[in-house]
Amino acid sequence: MMKPFPEVPMLSYDVVVIGGGPAGMASAIKAKELGLKVLLLDENDYLGGILPQCIHPGFGIHYFREELTGPEFAARLAKRLVELGVEYRTSARVLEIRNYSDLEKFVLFTSPSGIYGVWAKAVIYAAGARERHAFEIGIVGDRVSGIYTAGEAQTLMDIYGVLPGKEIVIVGSGDVGLIMARRFALEGAKVKAVIELMPYPGGLARNVMILRDFNIPLYLSHKVVEVRGKGRVERVKVVRVDENLKEIPGSEFWIEADTLVISAGLVPAVKKLKKIGVEIDPATAGPVVNDRLETSVPGIFVAGNSLVINDLVDYVAEQGELAAEGAKEFIENGGIESRKWIKVETGENVRLVVPHYLSGERDVHLYLRVSKPMEDVELRIPEIGKRLKLPVVKPAEMIRLKLKAEEIRNAEKLTVEVVRP
């Protein structure tokens, strides 16, 4: 084996898990249970990923059959991790992944005690997602303080106990935006508006209810285009959009506020994977994967928000476990082989679906999202005659569909569509 960095101390494991959120912790636990020598790395100084700052209930109804808050969910996984003696390092930031050969992966990380290299046979990448910033959604104006992403505002408020502002405008009505609206309102800030580009709210019904609870106005089909202020945000300009999301001239108005919180969606954080040639699906912005969540680079697996943006942590943990099973099989057999790969494609009103390739040799969960909300529809996979009635579908709610190996074994390809019967 070559030595890529001669001065750097080298460690050696079967599998390295990058990211200690729910996806990474669930992977590391499973990998250990399957008898692998595993190392988990996270750049934060605590485990749990974004969960410790998500202090509202709504986590774990499927996974633990109990409704927990984010920190409680994280603590359960962390407890199991420690009980099993999984090796982990916090404040350990992965700088680079290298893929020398199928069973020779190299991971370089920094930590308070210095830089280390790790050799591993497989890598599970569970580094979560990054938030879209103001400039990515076309907001212009003065360079002022008081503009935060939802995650930044949440960390400030729910880890450090600091209220980011007094009069707040929130961009985006997804779950994150709505949950933040409730937290601000509870802590005594005035949420002046939630601005949503689409003609429907982006969050789960239980979160949309928050707006009614606190009398927060929701502007559908509107966008924030400009921020003004001296030093600090003073007002934001809002404009209405038409059905093609084009700004309607003359519909502009200003809202006075000292804080703008951007909750304009998450994007899988996959820069380090792109560098080693992992193929990306433009629809999910995450890697193309097979039914063990292996990427196009053999032995590199992915789970959680790095794979696809999930709204339920339960699915994230499930993906983590699957990736660990994949890593085990990969290491044991020197690769993941299949007679054939059944390609999964998006059909009518399906915006994205993962995994992308199925072996047909094992049961699989498909995770998908629709493009637009619809009622009384059928989810169909014509190639195998699958039909499932769904009373309501919304882009905000990921649909999870279990397929049995026998159902798909003989298919060449699957097209997933959501249509009116």
């Binding site: 729910d158 106990g161 209810m209």
Partner: protein, 116 residues
């Protein structure tokens, strides 16, 4: 006077659109639900909505500057501001474990959801 409340049921992922017809604080009819749990929830939502409340409270000498807490049970919605004023005054000292009761308010336990 008759009033109609409309909302999306949040008890299960089906998310039925429920309508509740109310007259003088009495429920006349519930429509749109597909199961009894939804009906029960909708009536409760109209008559006396309850919520679990969460916040963070400062902690001295902890690993993080705050611990997160929640009410052990849902409390009437209109009492939330009062509870929040009470919680704003509380400060605690580490160590705190998940599940510790850090305070009590009007018979409702305030439970730590993050250790410190």
């Amino acid at each position: 006077m008759k009033e109609i409340y409309r909302f999306t049921c949040i008890v299960c992922p089906l998310g039925c659109s429920i309508e509740v017809e109310v007259e003088d604080g009495k429920v006349l009819e519930v429509r749109g639900h597909t199961c009894p749990r939804g009906e029960e929830w909708a009536v409760q939502e109209v008559i006396s909505p309850k919520r679990v409340v969460m916040t963070v409270i400062p902690v001295e000498n902890g690993a993080l500057p705050t611990v997160s807490v929640k009410t052990a049970e849902p409390i009437p919605k209109e009492k939330i501001p009062e509870l929040m004023r009470f919680l704003a005054e509380i400060k605690i000292k580490a160590p705190v474990n998940i599940g510790d009761v850090v305070a009590e308010w009007d018979g409702v336990k305030i439970v730590a959801t993050r250790g410190a």
